[in-house]
Protein backbone atom coordinates (compact mmCIF):
# COMPACT_ATOMS: atom_id res chain seq x y z
CA UNK A 1 0.00 0.00 0.00
CA UNK A 2 1.30 3.42 -0.86
CA UNK A 3 0.75 6.85 0.54
CA UNK A 4 -1.10 8.81 -2.11
CA UNK A 5 -3.36 11.48 -0.75
CA UNK A 6 -4.41 13.01 -4.05
CA UNK A 7 -5.19 9.74 -5.81
CA UNK A 8 -7.10 8.34 -2.82
CA UNK A 9 -9.25 11.40 -2.40
CA UNK A 10 -9.96 11.56 -6.12
CA UNK A 11 -11.47 8.07 -5.86
CA UNK A 12 -13.31 8.98 -2.67
CA UNK A 13 -14.56 12.39 -3.81
CA UNK A 14 -17.98 11.51 -5.30
CA UNK A 15 -18.80 9.24 -2.37
CA UNK A 16 -17.71 11.76 0.23
CA UNK A 17 -19.60 14.53 -1.55
CA UNK A 18 -22.88 12.60 -1.40
CA UNK A 19 -22.07 11.62 2.17
CA UNK A 20 -21.46 15.22 3.27
CA UNK A 21 -24.49 16.70 1.55
CA UNK A 22 -27.03 14.00 2.37
CA UNK A 23 -25.74 12.65 5.68
CA UNK A 24 -23.22 14.83 7.53
CA UNK A 25 -25.06 18.09 7.05
CA UNK A 26 -28.51 16.56 7.80
CA UNK A 27 -27.19 14.99 11.01
CA UNK A 28 -26.09 18.44 12.20
CA UNK A 29 -29.09 20.18 10.71
CA UNK A 30 -31.70 17.95 12.32
CA UNK A 31 -30.02 18.51 15.69
CA UNK A 32 -30.30 22.27 15.17
CA UNK A 33 -33.88 22.04 13.88
CA UNK A 34 -34.90 20.19 17.04
CA UNK A 35 -34.16 23.40 18.97
CA UNK A 36 -36.36 25.58 16.80
CA UNK A 37 -40.04 26.36 16.69
CA UNK A 38 -40.78 25.40 13.10
CA UNK A 39 -44.42 26.22 12.73
CA UNK A 40 -43.80 29.93 12.69
CA UNK A 41 -42.39 31.76 9.67
CA UNK A 42 -39.48 32.33 9.90
CA UNK A 43 -38.37 29.52 12.23
CA UNK A 44 -37.47 30.77 15.66
CA UNK A 45 -34.72 29.53 18.00
CA UNK A 46 -36.49 28.15 21.08
CA UNK A 47 -34.32 25.58 22.85
CA UNK A 48 -36.95 24.10 25.14
CA UNK A 49 -39.83 24.20 22.71
CA UNK A 50 -39.74 20.74 21.14
CA UNK A 51 -37.80 18.90 23.82
CA UNK A 52 -40.05 20.32 26.51
CA UNK A 53 -43.08 19.18 24.60
CA UNK A 54 -41.56 15.74 24.03
CA UNK A 55 -41.10 15.11 27.74
CA UNK A 56 -44.75 15.87 28.45
CA UNK A 57 -46.31 14.30 25.36
CA UNK A 58 -48.40 11.16 26.01
CA UNK A 59 -48.32 10.38 22.27
CA UNK A 60 -44.52 10.25 22.42
CA UNK A 61 -44.50 7.94 25.43
CA UNK A 62 -47.12 5.73 23.81
CA UNK A 63 -45.00 5.42 20.66
CA UNK A 64 -41.85 4.87 22.72
CA UNK A 65 -43.54 2.16 24.77
CA UNK A 66 -44.85 0.38 21.66
CA UNK A 67 -41.50 0.57 19.90
CA UNK A 68 -39.60 -0.79 22.90
CA UNK A 69 -42.20 -3.52 23.42
CA UNK A 70 -41.82 -4.69 19.82
CA UNK A 71 -38.04 -4.42 20.17
CA UNK A 72 -37.87 -6.48 23.35
CA UNK A 73 -40.16 -9.27 22.13
CA UNK A 74 -39.74 -9.40 18.37
CA UNK A 75 -35.97 -9.07 17.99
CA UNK A 76 -34.95 -11.93 20.34
CA UNK A 77 -37.69 -14.23 18.99
CA UNK A 78 -36.62 -13.51 15.42
CA UNK A 79 -32.89 -13.99 16.07
CA UNK A 80 -33.60 -17.27 17.91
CA UNK A 81 -35.75 -18.44 15.01
CA UNK A 82 -33.09 -17.37 12.51
CA UNK A 83 -30.56 -19.37 14.52
CA UNK A 84 -32.78 -22.46 14.41
CA UNK A 85 -33.18 -22.03 10.64
CA UNK A 86 -29.44 -21.57 10.12
CA UNK A 87 -28.48 -24.60 12.26
CA UNK A 88 -30.98 -26.88 10.56
CA UNK A 89 -30.17 -25.64 7.05
CA UNK A 90 -26.54 -26.35 7.85
CA UNK A 91 -27.25 -29.97 8.84
CA UNK A 92 -25.59 -32.53 6.55
CA UNK A 93 -28.67 -34.74 7.01
CA UNK A 94 -30.94 -32.30 5.18
CA UNK A 95 -32.30 -33.36 1.78
CA UNK A 96 -33.65 -30.94 -0.86
CA UNK A 97 -31.70 -28.16 0.85
CA UNK A 98 -32.40 -25.74 -2.00
CA UNK A 99 -36.16 -25.90 -1.46
CA UNK A 100 -35.87 -25.16 2.25
CA UNK A 101 -33.46 -22.34 1.60
CA UNK A 102 -35.87 -20.85 -0.90
CA UNK A 103 -38.75 -21.03 1.58
CA UNK A 104 -36.89 -19.20 4.35
CA UNK A 105 -34.87 -16.76 2.23
CA UNK A 106 -37.60 -15.72 -0.25
CA UNK A 107 -39.17 -13.05 2.03
CA UNK A 108 -35.86 -11.16 1.81
CA UNK A 109 -36.76 -9.97 -1.70
CA UNK A 110 -40.37 -9.08 -0.91
CA UNK A 111 -41.07 -5.36 -0.59
CA UNK A 112 -42.70 -3.87 2.50
CA UNK A 113 -45.76 -2.66 0.63
CA UNK A 114 -46.43 -5.97 -1.12
CA UNK A 115 -46.17 -8.05 2.02
CA UNK A 116 -48.09 -5.55 4.14
CA UNK A 117 -50.98 -5.83 1.69
CA UNK A 118 -50.91 -9.63 1.85
CA UNK A 119 -50.78 -9.70 5.64
CA UNK A 120 -53.73 -7.32 5.81
CA UNK A 121 -55.83 -9.61 3.68
CA UNK A 122 -54.68 -12.81 5.36
CA UNK A 123 -55.52 -11.56 8.84
CA UNK A 124 -58.79 -9.75 8.13
CA UNK A 125 -61.56 -10.54 10.61
CA UNK A 126 -64.27 -12.30 8.61
CA UNK A 127 -62.63 -13.19 5.32
CA UNK A 128 -58.99 -13.61 6.30
CA UNK A 129 -57.52 -17.01 5.65
CA UNK A 130 -55.91 -17.11 9.11
CA UNK A 131 -59.22 -16.75 10.95
CA UNK A 132 -60.87 -19.20 8.57
CA UNK A 133 -58.17 -21.75 9.35
CA UNK A 134 -58.46 -21.08 13.10
CA UNK A 135 -62.21 -21.62 12.82
CA UNK A 136 -61.82 -24.81 10.86
CA UNK A 137 -59.82 -26.40 13.69
CA UNK A 138 -62.37 -25.20 16.27
CA UNK A 139 -60.53 -22.14 17.54
CA UNK A 140 -62.26 -18.76 17.90
CA UNK A 141 -61.61 -15.96 15.40
CA UNK A 142 -59.19 -13.26 16.47
CA UNK A 143 -59.96 -9.63 15.75
CA UNK A 144 -56.44 -8.71 14.70
CA UNK A 145 -57.17 -5.09 13.90
CA UNK A 146 -59.52 -3.80 16.62
CA UNK A 147 -57.67 -4.93 19.73
CA UNK A 148 -54.25 -3.73 20.75
CA UNK A 149 -52.68 -7.04 21.79
CA UNK A 150 -53.49 -9.00 18.62
CA UNK A 151 -52.61 -5.95 16.51
CA UNK A 152 -49.19 -5.74 18.15
CA UNK A 153 -48.78 -9.50 17.73
CA UNK A 154 -49.64 -9.15 14.05
CA UNK A 155 -46.96 -6.48 13.54
CA UNK A 156 -44.40 -8.70 15.26
CA UNK A 157 -45.45 -11.75 13.20
CA UNK A 158 -45.17 -9.76 9.98
CA UNK A 159 -41.74 -8.31 10.77
CA UNK A 160 -40.46 -11.70 11.92
CA UNK A 161 -41.66 -13.35 8.71
CA UNK A 162 -39.95 -10.71 6.61
CA UNK A 163 -36.58 -10.62 8.40
CA UNK A 164 -35.90 -14.03 10.02
CA UNK A 165 -34.52 -15.48 6.78
CA UNK A 166 -32.31 -12.42 6.26
CA UNK A 167 -30.68 -13.00 9.62
CA UNK A 168 -30.50 -16.74 8.95
CA UNK A 169 -28.43 -16.01 5.82
CA UNK A 170 -25.94 -13.99 7.85
CA UNK A 171 -25.79 -16.56 10.66
CA UNK A 172 -25.42 -19.43 8.20
CA UNK A 173 -22.52 -17.70 6.47
CA UNK A 174 -20.92 -17.19 9.88
CA UNK A 175 -21.37 -20.88 10.76
CA UNK A 176 -19.87 -22.01 7.48
CA UNK A 177 -16.76 -19.98 8.16
CA UNK A 178 -16.07 -22.00 11.33
CA UNK A 179 -13.42 -24.58 10.43
CA UNK A 180 -14.74 -28.14 10.05
CA UNK A 181 -11.95 -29.79 12.09
CA UNK A 182 -13.12 -28.12 15.31
CA UNK A 183 -16.31 -30.16 15.08
CA UNK A 184 -14.48 -33.29 13.94
CA UNK A 185 -12.28 -33.17 17.00
CA UNK A 186 -15.33 -32.68 19.24
CA UNK A 187 -17.15 -35.58 17.59
CA UNK A 188 -14.12 -37.84 18.12
CA UNK A 189 -14.24 -36.87 21.79
CA UNK A 190 -17.90 -37.93 21.81
CA UNK A 191 -19.22 -34.43 22.51
CA UNK A 192 -22.95 -34.40 21.68
CA UNK A 193 -24.26 -32.22 18.86
CA UNK A 194 -26.19 -30.11 21.34
CA UNK A 195 -23.09 -29.47 23.43
CA UNK A 196 -21.13 -28.71 20.27
CA UNK A 197 -23.69 -26.03 19.47
CA UNK A 198 -23.48 -24.40 22.89
CA UNK A 199 -19.73 -24.72 23.43
CA UNK A 200 -18.38 -24.28 19.89
CA UNK A 201 -20.90 -22.70 17.53
CA UNK A 202 -22.41 -20.08 19.83
CA UNK A 203 -19.17 -18.64 21.23
CA UNK A 204 -17.49 -18.51 17.81
CA UNK A 205 -20.58 -16.94 16.31
CA UNK A 206 -20.90 -14.22 18.91
CA UNK A 207 -19.68 -11.33 16.74
CA UNK A 208 -22.06 -12.36 13.96
CA UNK A 209 -24.98 -12.59 16.39
CA UNK A 210 -24.15 -9.13 17.70
CA UNK A 211 -24.06 -7.82 14.13
CA UNK A 212 -27.54 -9.29 13.51
CA UNK A 213 -28.84 -7.86 16.77
CA UNK A 214 -27.50 -4.39 16.01
CA UNK A 215 -29.00 -4.34 12.49
CA UNK A 216 -32.33 -5.70 13.77
CA UNK A 217 -32.56 -3.25 16.64
CA UNK A 218 -31.86 -0.29 14.39
CA UNK A 219 -34.41 -1.59 11.87
CA UNK A 220 -37.11 -2.19 14.46
CA UNK A 221 -36.38 1.14 16.15
CA UNK A 222 -37.46 2.84 12.91
CA UNK A 223 -40.40 0.56 12.20
CA UNK A 224 -42.79 2.48 9.99
CA UNK A 225 -44.33 0.71 7.00
CA UNK A 226 -45.93 -2.21 8.85
CA UNK A 227 -47.92 -0.13 11.36
CA UNK A 228 -48.57 2.42 8.61
CA UNK A 229 -50.07 -0.05 6.14
CA UNK A 230 -51.02 -3.24 8.01
CA UNK A 231 -52.66 -1.80 11.12
CA UNK A 232 -53.52 1.37 9.26
CA UNK A 233 -51.71 4.40 10.71
CA UNK A 234 -50.84 2.73 14.00
CA UNK A 235 -54.33 1.54 14.85
CA UNK A 236 -56.36 0.64 16.79
CA UNK A 237 -56.36 4.10 18.39
CA UNK A 238 -52.57 4.46 18.46
CA UNK A 239 -52.18 0.93 19.84
CA UNK A 240 -49.45 0.09 17.31
CA UNK A 241 -48.08 3.58 16.82
CA UNK A 242 -44.29 3.51 16.71
CA UNK A 243 -41.66 6.24 16.91
CA UNK A 244 -41.23 5.98 13.14
CA UNK A 245 -44.91 6.62 12.62
CA UNK A 246 -44.96 9.50 15.12
CA UNK A 247 -42.04 11.06 13.26
CA UNK A 248 -43.91 10.68 9.98
CA UNK A 249 -47.13 12.18 11.34
CA UNK A 250 -45.40 15.10 13.06
CA UNK A 251 -42.93 15.80 10.27
CA UNK A 252 -44.90 15.14 7.14
CA UNK A 253 -48.58 15.38 8.08
CA UNK A 254 -48.44 18.28 10.58
CA UNK A 255 -45.26 19.69 8.96
CA UNK A 256 -43.79 20.16 12.41
CA UNK A 257 -40.15 19.57 11.51
CA UNK A 258 -38.76 20.73 14.85
CA UNK A 259 -40.73 18.27 16.91
CA UNK A 260 -40.15 15.46 14.41
CA UNK A 261 -36.39 16.11 14.61
CA UNK A 262 -36.52 15.77 18.38
CA UNK A 263 -38.26 12.41 17.93
CA UNK A 264 -35.61 11.38 15.37
CA UNK A 265 -32.78 12.25 17.75
CA UNK A 266 -34.43 10.25 20.51
CA UNK A 267 -34.49 7.23 18.20
CA UNK A 268 -30.84 7.72 17.30
CA UNK A 269 -29.82 8.12 20.94
CA UNK A 270 -31.66 4.92 21.87
CA UNK A 271 -30.16 2.98 18.96
CA UNK A 272 -26.64 4.12 19.75
CA UNK A 273 -27.06 3.46 23.47
CA UNK A 274 -28.32 -0.08 22.87
CA UNK A 275 -25.56 -0.78 20.35
CA UNK A 276 -22.85 0.47 22.70
CA UNK A 277 -24.20 -1.63 25.58
CA UNK A 278 -24.13 -4.67 23.32
CA UNK A 279 -20.62 -4.07 22.05
CA UNK A 280 -19.46 -3.51 25.61
CA UNK A 281 -21.14 -6.69 26.89
CA UNK A 282 -19.59 -8.86 24.20
CA UNK A 283 -16.17 -7.28 24.62
CA UNK A 284 -16.20 -7.98 28.35
CA UNK A 285 -16.64 -11.69 27.90
CA UNK A 286 -13.97 -12.20 25.27
Amino acid sequence: MRNRNATAYRFLAPYLLIFSVFWVWPIISSFLISFQATRTVPWRFAPGFNWGRLIGDPAFFNALKNTLLILVIQVPVMIALAMVMAVLLNSPLLKARGLYRFAFFAPVVVGEVAYSAVFRLMFSLDFGIVNKLLNSVGLPKIDWFSNVTPAMALIMIAVTWRWAGYNAIILLAGMQSIPEDVYEAATLDRVSKLKQFFYITLPLLKPVIVFCLVLSIIGTMQLFTEPFLITERGGPGGGTETLGLLLYRQGFRSLNFGYASAVAYTMAALAIAITLVQLWLTREKQ
Binding site: N5, L94, I129, P207, I218, L247, G251
Partner: protein
Protein backbone atom coordinates in the same frame (compact mmCIF):
# COMPACT_ATOMS: atom_id res chain seq x y z
CA UNK B 1 -30.11 -44.16 2.50
CA UNK B 2 -28.85 -47.64 3.41
CA UNK B 3 -25.50 -46.17 4.36
CA UNK B 4 -27.15 -44.14 7.13
CA UNK B 5 -27.12 -45.71 10.55
CA UNK B 6 -30.56 -46.04 12.13
CA UNK B 7 -29.83 -43.28 14.64
CA UNK B 8 -28.88 -40.96 11.82
CA UNK B 9 -31.98 -41.94 9.90
CA UNK B 10 -34.17 -41.12 12.88
CA UNK B 11 -32.46 -37.77 13.30
CA UNK B 12 -32.90 -37.04 9.63
CA UNK B 13 -36.62 -37.85 9.76
CA UNK B 14 -37.11 -35.65 12.84
CA UNK B 15 -35.26 -32.83 11.10
CA UNK B 16 -37.52 -32.98 8.06
CA UNK B 17 -40.68 -33.39 10.15
CA UNK B 18 -39.83 -30.17 11.97
CA UNK B 19 -38.52 -28.15 9.07
CA UNK B 20 -41.20 -28.96 6.47
CA UNK B 21 -44.18 -27.39 8.31
CA UNK B 22 -42.03 -24.37 9.15
CA UNK B 23 -41.04 -24.00 5.49
CA UNK B 24 -44.68 -24.31 4.41
CA UNK B 25 -45.75 -21.62 6.90
CA UNK B 26 -42.97 -19.40 5.55
CA UNK B 27 -44.09 -19.90 1.95
CA UNK B 28 -47.76 -19.45 2.80
CA UNK B 29 -47.99 -15.62 2.52
CA UNK B 30 -46.24 -15.69 -0.87
CA UNK B 31 -48.51 -18.47 -2.06
CA UNK B 32 -51.59 -16.58 -0.87
CA UNK B 33 -50.35 -13.45 -2.63
CA UNK B 34 -50.42 -15.38 -5.89
CA UNK B 35 -53.80 -17.00 -5.08
CA UNK B 36 -55.43 -13.66 -4.15
CA UNK B 37 -54.07 -12.03 -7.32
CA UNK B 38 -55.99 -14.58 -9.40
CA UNK B 39 -59.30 -14.32 -7.50
CA UNK B 40 -62.17 -11.92 -8.19
CA UNK B 41 -62.87 -9.52 -5.29
CA UNK B 42 -66.09 -11.27 -4.33
CA UNK B 43 -64.06 -14.48 -4.11
CA UNK B 44 -61.47 -12.93 -1.77
CA UNK B 45 -64.27 -11.67 0.47
CA UNK B 46 -66.26 -14.88 0.67
CA UNK B 47 -66.53 -17.29 3.59
CA UNK B 48 -64.96 -20.33 1.89
CA UNK B 49 -61.33 -21.40 2.20
CA UNK B 50 -59.62 -21.02 -1.18
CA UNK B 51 -56.04 -22.22 -1.45
CA UNK B 52 -55.64 -22.67 -5.20
CA UNK B 53 -55.20 -20.07 -7.94
CA UNK B 54 -58.14 -19.05 -10.15
CA UNK B 55 -58.03 -17.40 -13.57
CA UNK B 56 -58.75 -13.77 -12.78
CA UNK B 57 -55.30 -12.20 -12.89
CA UNK B 58 -55.83 -10.15 -16.06
CA UNK B 59 -59.12 -8.70 -14.78
CA UNK B 60 -57.46 -7.84 -11.48
CA UNK B 61 -54.59 -6.18 -13.30
CA UNK B 62 -57.07 -4.10 -15.33
CA UNK B 63 -58.79 -3.06 -12.09
CA UNK B 64 -55.45 -2.04 -10.63
CA UNK B 65 -54.60 -0.01 -13.71
CA UNK B 66 -58.01 1.69 -13.36
CA UNK B 67 -57.29 2.58 -9.71
CA UNK B 68 -53.77 3.94 -10.38
CA UNK B 69 -51.35 4.12 -13.30
CA UNK B 70 -49.37 1.09 -12.19
CA UNK B 71 -47.66 0.45 -15.51
CA UNK B 72 -46.30 4.01 -15.50
CA UNK B 73 -45.18 3.57 -11.90
CA UNK B 74 -43.39 0.31 -12.79
CA UNK B 75 -41.64 2.19 -15.59
CA UNK B 76 -40.37 4.79 -13.12
CA UNK B 77 -39.33 2.11 -10.63
CA UNK B 78 -37.34 0.15 -13.21
CA UNK B 79 -35.57 3.21 -14.64
CA UNK B 80 -34.75 4.59 -11.20
CA UNK B 81 -33.52 1.23 -9.87
CA UNK B 82 -31.28 0.64 -12.91
CA UNK B 83 -29.76 4.13 -12.82
CA UNK B 84 -29.33 4.00 -9.07
CA UNK B 85 -27.63 0.61 -9.24
CA UNK B 86 -25.12 1.67 -11.90
CA UNK B 87 -24.22 4.92 -10.12
CA UNK B 88 -24.09 3.37 -6.69
CA UNK B 89 -21.92 0.43 -7.75
CA UNK B 90 -19.47 2.86 -9.34
CA UNK B 91 -19.39 5.23 -6.37
CA UNK B 92 -19.18 2.46 -3.82
CA UNK B 93 -16.44 0.51 -5.56
CA UNK B 94 -14.35 3.63 -6.13
CA UNK B 95 -14.55 4.46 -2.44
CA UNK B 96 -13.90 0.83 -1.48
CA UNK B 97 -10.86 0.77 -3.78
CA UNK B 98 -9.38 3.91 -2.21
CA UNK B 99 -9.88 2.55 1.30
CA UNK B 100 -8.43 -0.84 0.41
CA UNK B 101 -5.40 0.08 -1.69
CA UNK B 102 -4.04 3.45 -0.59
CA UNK B 103 -2.57 4.87 2.58
CA UNK B 104 -3.69 8.46 2.98
CA UNK B 105 -4.17 11.25 5.45
CA UNK B 106 -7.46 10.95 7.37
CA UNK B 107 -8.11 7.34 6.37
CA UNK B 108 -8.86 6.20 9.91
CA UNK B 109 -11.38 9.00 10.33
CA UNK B 110 -13.15 8.16 7.06
CA UNK B 111 -13.38 4.44 7.90
CA UNK B 112 -14.52 5.22 11.45
CA UNK B 113 -17.29 7.52 10.25
CA UNK B 114 -18.53 4.99 7.69
CA UNK B 115 -18.65 2.29 10.39
CA UNK B 116 -20.40 4.73 12.71
CA UNK B 117 -23.23 5.38 10.28
CA UNK B 118 -24.19 1.68 10.36
CA UNK B 119 -25.53 2.21 13.85
CA UNK B 120 -27.24 5.49 13.02
CA UNK B 121 -30.94 5.34 12.19
CA UNK B 122 -31.88 6.78 8.81
CA UNK B 123 -34.64 8.72 10.61
CA UNK B 124 -32.03 11.24 11.80
CA UNK B 125 -31.26 12.49 8.29
CA UNK B 126 -34.76 12.10 6.86
CA UNK B 127 -36.18 15.51 7.72
CA UNK B 128 -33.23 17.67 6.65
CA UNK B 129 -32.89 15.56 3.47
CA UNK B 130 -36.52 16.26 2.71
CA UNK B 131 -36.24 19.98 3.43
CA UNK B 132 -33.09 20.22 1.33
CA UNK B 133 -34.34 18.27 -1.68
CA UNK B 134 -37.92 19.57 -1.71
CA UNK B 135 -37.47 23.18 -0.61
CA UNK B 136 -33.85 24.22 -1.20
CA UNK B 137 -33.19 22.32 -4.42
CA UNK B 138 -36.83 22.26 -5.60
CA UNK B 139 -36.36 18.67 -6.78
CA UNK B 140 -39.47 16.97 -5.35
CA UNK B 141 -41.22 14.65 -7.81
CA UNK B 142 -38.14 14.21 -10.00
CA UNK B 143 -35.95 11.18 -10.72
CA UNK B 144 -32.95 12.96 -9.24
CA UNK B 145 -34.74 13.10 -5.90
CA UNK B 146 -35.28 9.34 -5.99
CA UNK B 147 -31.77 8.43 -7.14
CA UNK B 148 -29.23 10.78 -5.56
CA UNK B 149 -29.88 10.98 -1.79
CA UNK B 150 -29.93 7.19 -1.28
CA UNK B 151 -26.56 6.84 -3.06
CA UNK B 152 -24.69 6.81 0.24
CA UNK B 153 -24.42 3.36 1.76
CA UNK B 154 -21.96 2.08 4.31
CA UNK B 155 -22.19 -1.73 4.15
CA UNK B 156 -21.52 -1.69 0.39
CA UNK B 157 -18.30 0.30 0.78
CA UNK B 158 -17.05 -1.97 3.53
CA UNK B 159 -17.88 -4.98 1.33
CA UNK B 160 -15.94 -3.57 -1.63
CA UNK B 161 -13.04 -2.53 0.58
CA UNK B 162 -12.87 -6.11 1.82
CA UNK B 163 -13.02 -7.47 -1.74
CA UNK B 164 -10.25 -5.24 -3.09
CA UNK B 165 -7.95 -5.69 -0.12
CA UNK B 166 -7.95 -9.47 -0.64
CA UNK B 167 -6.42 -9.12 -4.11
CA UNK B 168 -2.66 -9.72 -4.36
CA UNK B 169 -0.41 -6.62 -4.56
CA UNK B 170 1.82 -7.94 -7.38
CA UNK B 171 -1.05 -7.72 -9.80
CA UNK B 172 -1.34 -3.96 -9.48
CA UNK B 173 2.37 -3.33 -8.94
CA UNK B 174 3.17 -5.00 -12.26
CA UNK B 175 0.84 -2.57 -14.00
CA UNK B 176 2.36 0.36 -12.09
CA UNK B 177 5.85 -0.61 -13.22
CA UNK B 178 4.55 -0.43 -16.77
CA UNK B 179 3.45 3.12 -16.00
CA UNK B 180 -0.29 2.47 -16.11
CA UNK B 181 -2.32 5.22 -14.45
CA UNK B 182 -4.16 4.47 -11.20
CA UNK B 183 -7.66 5.01 -12.60
CA UNK B 184 -6.88 2.64 -15.48
CA UNK B 185 -5.63 0.01 -13.02
CA UNK B 186 -8.87 0.39 -11.10
CA UNK B 187 -11.05 0.27 -14.19
CA UNK B 188 -9.31 -2.41 -16.25
CA UNK B 189 -7.54 -4.60 -13.70
CA UNK B 190 -9.36 -4.37 -10.38
CA UNK B 191 -13.00 -4.09 -11.48
CA UNK B 192 -12.93 -7.10 -13.84
CA UNK B 193 -11.35 -9.17 -11.05
CA UNK B 194 -14.09 -8.10 -8.65
CA UNK B 195 -16.92 -9.16 -10.96
CA UNK B 196 -18.58 -11.65 -8.56
CA UNK B 197 -18.54 -9.10 -5.74
CA UNK B 198 -19.85 -6.38 -8.04
CA UNK B 199 -22.69 -8.70 -9.05
CA UNK B 200 -23.57 -9.34 -5.41
CA UNK B 201 -23.45 -5.62 -4.65
CA UNK B 202 -25.52 -4.71 -7.72
CA UNK B 203 -28.26 -7.18 -6.84
CA UNK B 204 -28.57 -5.91 -3.28
CA UNK B 205 -28.60 -2.27 -4.40
CA UNK B 206 -31.15 -2.91 -7.13
CA UNK B 207 -33.41 -4.68 -4.66
CA UNK B 208 -33.05 -1.87 -2.11
CA UNK B 209 -34.05 0.71 -4.71
CA UNK B 210 -36.87 -1.42 -6.12
CA UNK B 211 -38.44 -1.93 -2.68
CA UNK B 212 -37.61 1.48 -1.18
CA UNK B 213 -40.77 2.95 0.29
CA UNK B 214 -40.42 5.72 2.88
CA UNK B 215 -38.22 8.17 0.94
CA UNK B 216 -40.12 7.85 -2.38
CA UNK B 217 -43.39 8.14 -0.44
CA UNK B 218 -42.29 11.47 1.00
CA UNK B 219 -40.46 13.03 -1.90
CA UNK B 220 -42.39 11.84 -4.98
CA UNK B 221 -46.01 12.05 -3.93
CA UNK B 222 -47.47 13.41 -7.18
CA UNK B 223 -49.40 10.70 -9.07
CA UNK B 224 -47.27 10.90 -12.23
CA UNK B 225 -43.97 10.63 -10.34
CA UNK B 226 -44.69 7.78 -7.89
CA UNK B 227 -42.69 4.58 -7.83
CA UNK B 228 -44.61 1.30 -7.99
CA UNK B 229 -44.53 0.51 -4.23
CA UNK B 230 -45.75 4.03 -3.42
CA UNK B 231 -48.53 3.84 -6.02
CA UNK B 232 -49.61 0.48 -4.61
CA UNK B 233 -49.39 1.78 -1.04
CA UNK B 234 -51.83 4.62 -1.75
CA UNK B 235 -54.52 2.03 -2.53
CA UNK B 236 -54.16 0.07 0.71
CA UNK B 237 -56.78 1.28 3.15
CA UNK B 238 -59.06 2.90 0.58
CA UNK B 239 -62.64 1.69 0.88
CA UNK B 240 -63.58 1.41 -2.78
CA UNK B 241 -60.58 -0.38 -4.14
CA UNK B 242 -59.99 -3.69 -5.85
CA UNK B 243 -58.04 -5.95 -3.49
CA UNK B 244 -57.56 -8.42 -6.29
CA UNK B 245 -55.92 -5.52 -8.13
CA UNK B 246 -53.66 -4.69 -5.19
CA UNK B 247 -52.60 -8.31 -5.04
CA UNK B 248 -51.90 -8.35 -8.79
CA UNK B 249 -49.63 -5.35 -8.19
CA UNK B 250 -47.95 -7.08 -5.26
CA UNK B 251 -47.28 -10.11 -7.49
CA UNK B 252 -45.81 -7.88 -10.22
CA UNK B 253 -43.47 -6.31 -7.67
CA UNK B 254 -42.48 -9.60 -6.06
CA UNK B 255 -42.37 -12.40 -8.62
CA UNK B 256 -39.64 -10.87 -10.86
CA UNK B 257 -37.46 -10.48 -7.77
CA UNK B 258 -38.15 -14.07 -6.73
CA UNK B 259 -37.07 -15.27 -10.18
CA UNK B 260 -33.89 -13.19 -9.98
CA UNK B 261 -33.34 -14.58 -6.51
CA UNK B 262 -33.60 -18.18 -7.71
CA UNK B 263 -31.34 -17.58 -10.72
CA UNK B 264 -28.68 -15.59 -8.87
CA UNK B 265 -29.06 -17.05 -5.40
CA UNK B 266 -25.31 -17.36 -4.87
CA UNK B 267 -24.68 -13.64 -5.49
CA UNK B 268 -27.72 -12.65 -3.47
CA UNK B 269 -26.59 -14.58 -0.45
CA UNK B 270 -23.01 -13.37 -0.81
CA UNK B 271 -24.27 -9.79 -0.78
CA UNK B 272 -26.37 -10.23 2.33
CA UNK B 273 -23.84 -12.39 4.15
CA UNK B 274 -21.10 -9.82 3.53
CA UNK B 275 -21.57 -8.38 6.98
CA UNK B 276 -20.98 -11.73 8.66
CA UNK B 277 -17.66 -12.72 7.20
CA UNK B 278 -14.96 -10.42 8.35
Amino acid sequence: MSSLSSAKLRRSIALHLFLTPLALIWLFPLWMMVVFSTMPDNGIFSPGIELLPHGNFIDNFNNLQRDTDFVGAIGISVSVAVTYTVLSVLLTSMAGWALARYQFFGKGVVVGIIFGTITLPYAVVLIPQFIMVARDFQLANTWVALIVPPLFNSLGVLFMRQSFSMMPDDLFDAARVEGVKEWRIFLFVALPLARPMLAALAIILFLASWNNYLWPLLINSQPGSMTAPVALGTLIGLTKVSWGGIMAGAVMLTVPMLIVFVLLQRHFIAGIAAGAVK
